[in-house]
Amino acid sequence: MTTNLLIQCRGLTKSYRKGDSTITPLQKLDLDVNAGDFLALMGPSGSGKTTLLNLIAGIDSPTGGELRIGGQDIAKLSRSRLADWRSDNVGYIFQLYNLVPVLTAYENVELPLLLHRMSRRDRHERVSTALQLVGIADRHDHYPRQLSGGQEQRVAIARAIVTDPRIIVADEPTGDLDASSAVAIMDLLTRLCEELGKTLVMVTHDARCADRARRTLHLEKGQLVEPGRLGLMEGAAA
């Protein structure tokens, strides 16, 4: 089991100051995620889901505890090394897609590859493959404003996978989509995990999306809630 461990959080804490008060969205959190796992994170707003996701993605730094990914303590990396690490290891899928509006679908997907030394031909090959994989190759020359929400999210997924990262993090990837587009996007994410063996950590509010994950964890007030306690809470709520 431990040989397959990819993400390891121990006593992971994140706090920041806002005015006079200190906010602690994550408090001494312990979490293990194996390679190839599909983990859904659920919980109410402000429970620390996105903060945890951002820490795992290396776009935020913990204020306490340890965060090891692939055996490397990423909290100890400098800003620039962390950027390089993200470029090599992480694909990030946003709720609102966050495509660069003045770039076409192709150019958006190409962006992460521009950080890597490779020929234009290789780049073209990888971008084309990624676009085909997400089923949007025929829209490669469209700008984001010319695409539907579901199509934009497909482009964003292609951008996240084009560098072949070990971890894909998704922050409410279907949060802004209609039901049928949401199903299509979840099918795609499930395929990434099952067919390409990607490790997927997804934040969602949607129980149907969480059902597609192999494992679902609930957060509340910056801590993981045990399944038993969650059952009690759900019972009380009912």
Partner: protein
């Protein structure tokens, strides 16, 4: 600065933010147009007034006179000057202008003896007509290229200015600034044609060539000493120093205009900086996304600066080209007291303008670029 493969992305940002780019580049272009024009004026002043090591021409003028209308010297001074050691040649010259004040369209007649034209013509290029035609008629004129273009004169035409009517015998081009904006006519003709000219035997000045540039100052002193006790004492100066003295007012005004040029640059700086600051503020989230993808803060900063450079250079090229075309088309000469300062574009000024435009792009982009590069990703996402 940034990897070549990232340059297309920078260019796309510039090209596809079309409105911002057009407005910013247009502003830069207007400012650069003014800057280049002012710099060209400065360049013209330097060319006309800065004495260089190779200069061999002295101007002998009536002492304490600063206008061709009041400087009157006996033509008979010429052989006396020619006898002084170091003097290679002496050309008595009558100068008549249609306007003694500073103007962009002054017609200057220079009356010279027919025998003195041949050595002067050695440094001219005859663009139209011929020297022979000039010798054939007593009222013929050889017109400097700039004046000919400004007044649209061609050989065979006659024109009138300052009460003098001449027939155009040829168009000449010369590297000497003072040859480009004059009409060379026969000295006796001009002496008789002007009522205020005091008639035959009186000239405005002598153009003296020395055989060694090193002797310029000594020869000038010797000439003034020769006529110190005469009825018409002289003041002799190197030609360019003479221009600087006579055109002092214009030189001073042009010197002041330099500050306007620098003001234009400051306006460019503010304009580009404003465009970049607004662009960066608009794209906080986009930069956060780039950082999420693995772009380092420093790389994003350099990409923003590169955008500033492209904007600056785009506007700089447009403004410089427009200024060059405008100055070439207008053939402007700022003349005073019969002396001309040409406003012409030169490659050096244009290159300096472009370099400054690019530099302004760097400076303008520096602060917003550093701010964008240092911003925390999560903080940026929270901020929008």
């Amino acid at each position: 600065m940034i990897a070549l493969r990232l340059i297309p992305t920078v260019l796309r940002q510039v090209i596809r933010h079309r409105t911002r780019t057009i407005l910013t580049a247009a502003g830069v272009a207007v400012a650069m147009f003014l800057f280049i024009t002012v710099q060209s004026l400065q360049h013209g002043v330097r060319q006309a007034t800065e004495v260089t090591a190779g200069d061999t021409t002295l101007i002998v003028y009536r002492e304490n006179r600063f206008c061709p209308a009041t400087s009157r010297l006996p033509e008979s001074y010429a052989p006396r000057i020619a006898r002084l050691p170091g003097v290679a040649s002496v050309t008595p010259m009558k100068v008549v202008v249609n306007n003694c004040r500073a103007s962009l369209d002054v017609v200057t007649f220079r009356g010279v003896p027919a025998d003195d034209v041949a050595p002067m013509a050695a440094k001219w290029r005859i663009l139209a007509g011929s020297l022979e035609d000039w010798h054939k008629r007593s009222d013929s004129a050889l017109i400097g290229q700039r004046m000919a273009e400004r007044r649209r004169l061609t050989p065979g035409m006659s024109f009138d200015a300052a009460g003098v009517t001449v027939s155009v015998a040829g168009i000449i081009a010369s590297d000497e600034p003072q040859d480009q904006n004059v009409a060379y006519v026969h000295l006796p003709f001009l002496q008789q044609a002007t009522a205020s000219g005091a008639g035959l035997g009186v000239v405005t000045q002598f153009n003296v060539r020395v055989d060694d540039p090193a002797k310029l100052r000594d020869t000038a002193a010797a000439i003034d000493e020769l006529f110190r006790t005469d009825q018409d004492p002289t003041t002799t100066r190197p030609e360019k120093a003479f221009v600087a003295q006579v055109g002092a007012d214009v030189v001073e005004i042009v010197g002041f205009a330099r500050y306007l040029g620098w003001g234009c640059l400051a306006a460019v700086l503010a304009l580009v900086a404003n465009a970049i600051v607004l662009g960066v503020q608009d794209r906080v989230k986009e930069h956060a996304v780039l950082q999420t993808l693995g772009f380092r803060g420093g790389l994003i900063a350099r990409m923003i600066i590169a955008e500033g450079i492209v904007l600056g250079v785009l506007g700089g090229v447009a403004g410089t080209a427009f200024a060059a075309a405008f100055l070439a088309w207008g053939r402007f000469s700022l003349s005073t007291e019969g002396l001309s300062i040409h406003v012409s574009p030169d490659v050096g000024t244009s290159l300096v303008g472009l370099a400054i435009a690019a530099g302004v792009g760097v400076v303008a982009g520096l602060v917003p670029a550093v701010q964008a590069g240092r911003r925390e990703i999560a903080q940026s996402f929270r901020a929008v």
